[in-house]
């Protein structure tokens, strides 16, 4: 699903590369934790996968698309294959739960009939049946993240990138979100999740890629957060 080869990213203002010859492969259907301290390059890596930014060196391919030569007009095609959720949910405050999901379908040019069919399905997927007409501020953090996940799933993407999705949530709620991500993963979606949450990583026992100063410090299957813990 993802192939990184010697990926290097230099920001003009910084002397040290944000990513330094990172090589890694993520297979279809894998669940991978991306860990490491702040500034280790996690966010940079996710940005490169979304083609928000281009690497200084090395090659990246996502879902069979080589990002290096990808023309700008094909970038939307790439992003339709990647779902994305964040720590801060990024919901539209003036739209209901259903409205938020519908907005994503609308901007993709879906027909009203499709939208009426897909929105309830997506909300059922994340366990928000019956809350379609709520506004985001009426929801708990966990529920808001579920809306974000529903929205990230409008294209039924084969890859889901999650950047600290539980960063704003209490442990109990976080477990619920992790259960949801795991369920999505069991459905065949590859999940890459950047996180600081050692409890979750330790409990899940999935593959861990640890970045440190822009390099891969550790890449282990069924691993825990820190070797010393």
């Amino acid at each position: 699903m993802i192939e990184l080869r010697d990926v290097t990213k230099l920001y003009p203002a910084s002397s040290r590369p944000a990513l330094d010859k990172v090589t890694a492969t993520v297979d279809d259907g894998e669940f991978v934790f991306l860990i490491g301290p702040s500034g280790s390059g996690k966010s940079t890596l996710l940005r490169l996968l979304l083609r928000e930014d281009r690497p200084t060196g090395g090659t990246i391919s996502v879902g069979g698309m080589a990002l290096a030569g990808l023309p700008r007009r094909k970038v939307p095609k790439l992003r339709q294959r990647i779902g994305c959720v964040f720590q801060d949910f990024r919901l539209l405050a003036n739209r209901s739960v259903a409205g938020n999901v519908a907005f994503a379908l609308e901007v993709l040019g879906k027909r009203p009939a499709e939208i009426r069919r897909d929105v309830p399905e997506l909300l059922a997927l994340v366990g928000l049946e019956g809350k379609a007409e709520r506004m985001p501020h009426e929801l708990s953090g966990g529920e808001q993240q579920r809306v974000a996940i529903a929205r990230a799933s409008v294209n039924r993407p084969p890859l889901l990138l999650a950047d600290e999705p539980t960063g704003n949530l209490d442990p109990e709620t976080s477990r619920g979100i992790m259960a949801l991500l795991e369920r999505i993963n069991r459905g065949g979606t590859t999940v890459v999740m950047a996180t600081h949450d050692d409890t979750i990583v330790d409990a899940m026992r999935r593959r861990v890629i640890e970045l440190h100063d822009g390099t891969v410090a550790r890449d282990e299957a069924r691993a825990v957060y820190g070797a010393g813990r």
């Binding site: 700008r72 007009r73 939307p76 990647i82 907005f103 609308e106 901007v107 040019g109 929205r151």
Partner: protein
């Protein structure tokens, strides 16, 4: 992108940003109004040129003595001058206007004004009115032929008088265009700024569009349409302003002299055509500004 979504996004964008939108519309309107006024002045200058070229004469005013003593141009001085003028190349008809005729015309011209009452026939010169067949070389030829001749008091080229009017109108036109240019810069900057603010206030929406893989076109279109709509409204307001200017100002101030055929009236069709032109110009300029702004400053 579906029309319903587009119109919703555009109207919410314009409303959310209402003060900026109003400023953008007004600046665009004033700028286009200046452009339109300038274009109409150019048109009027052309019309005046056409109106006068055939009518302009050179007037050879005769001295007091000759004027008083020779009421029908049969005396030697006037007769000789007339012959000289008629044989000058570039000259067509030469017409004699006696003191009495000048007085009659003067009374008509200044009817109702006190100057008409104090004027006496003796105080006006009789003139030889020279029509030209060669507008370019004629005036100089006439001057060369009769300047400083006995019986000639003054040579008046009507062209000089009209030239002053042209200079004045040309100045007004230049001011209008200069104002239009300054206003246009302000309008373009405001449009650019409004698009940036609009994109910023909607960064979450734009972010969602980008992440789910909406096309660049879908993401940009609401902003472009917003700018274009504001530009079109600005153009329409400018058109209304031009029409109002014609009916409330120009017709009022210049109506009387336009009727007496001194200057051509500002035609309604010209005003309508210019107004109609301003609307698409406003839309296109605003749309292009929006597009360039999105390209340069906004990641959408």
């Amino acid at each position: 992108m579906r029309a319903a979504l587009l119109s919703r996004e555009v109207s919410s964008g314009l409303r959310r940003n209402i003060t900026m939108t109003v400023a953008m519309v007004l600046t665009t309107a004033v700028s286009l109004l200046s452009v339109g006024a300038g274009l109409l002045i150019v048109r009027t200058i052309d019309d005046i040129g056409a109106l006068y070229t055939d009518r302009l004469e050179i007037q050879v005013a005769l001295t007091q003595d000759t004027s008083s003593n020779d009421p029908d141009c049969t005396g030697p001085i006037c007769f000789r001058l007339r012959n000289v003028l008629e044989s000058t190349p570039g000259v067509g008809e030469v017409r004699f206007e006696s003191q009495q005729e000048a007085y009659t015309r003067f009374k008509e011209l200044f009817a109702g004004q006190s100057v008409a009452d104090v004027a006496r026939p003796q105080s006006l010169p009789s003139t030889l009115r020279v029509q030209l067949t060669d507008q370019a070389a004629g005036p100089d030829a006439v001057r060369a032929a009769v300047a400083n001749q006995v019986g000639v008091r003054e040579i008046i080229d009507q062209r000089d008088v009209v030239a002053k009017l042209f200079d004045f109108l040309g100045g007004v036109r230049n001011v209008a265009f200069a104002l239009a240019l300054v206003q246009a810069v302000a309008a373009v900057l405001l449009i650019s700024n409004t698009v940036q603010v609009s994109a910023f206030t909607r960064r979450t929406e734009v972010g969602v569009m980008r992440l789910v893989g909406a096309t660049r076109w879908t993401t940009q279109l609401p902003f472009l349409v917003e700018a274009t709509v504001a530009g079109l409204i600005g153009g329409a307001l400018a058109g209304v302003g031009l029409l109002a200017g014609k009916f409330l100002v120009v017709d009022d101030l210049l109506g009387a002299i336009a009727q007496s055929n001194v200057i051509p009236p500002v035609q309604l069709t010209d005003v309508l055509l210019t107004s109609a032109l301003l609307v698409p110009v406003g839309g296109v300029v605003a749309g292009l500004t929006g597009y360039v702004t999105l390209r340069l400053y906004v990641k959408v």
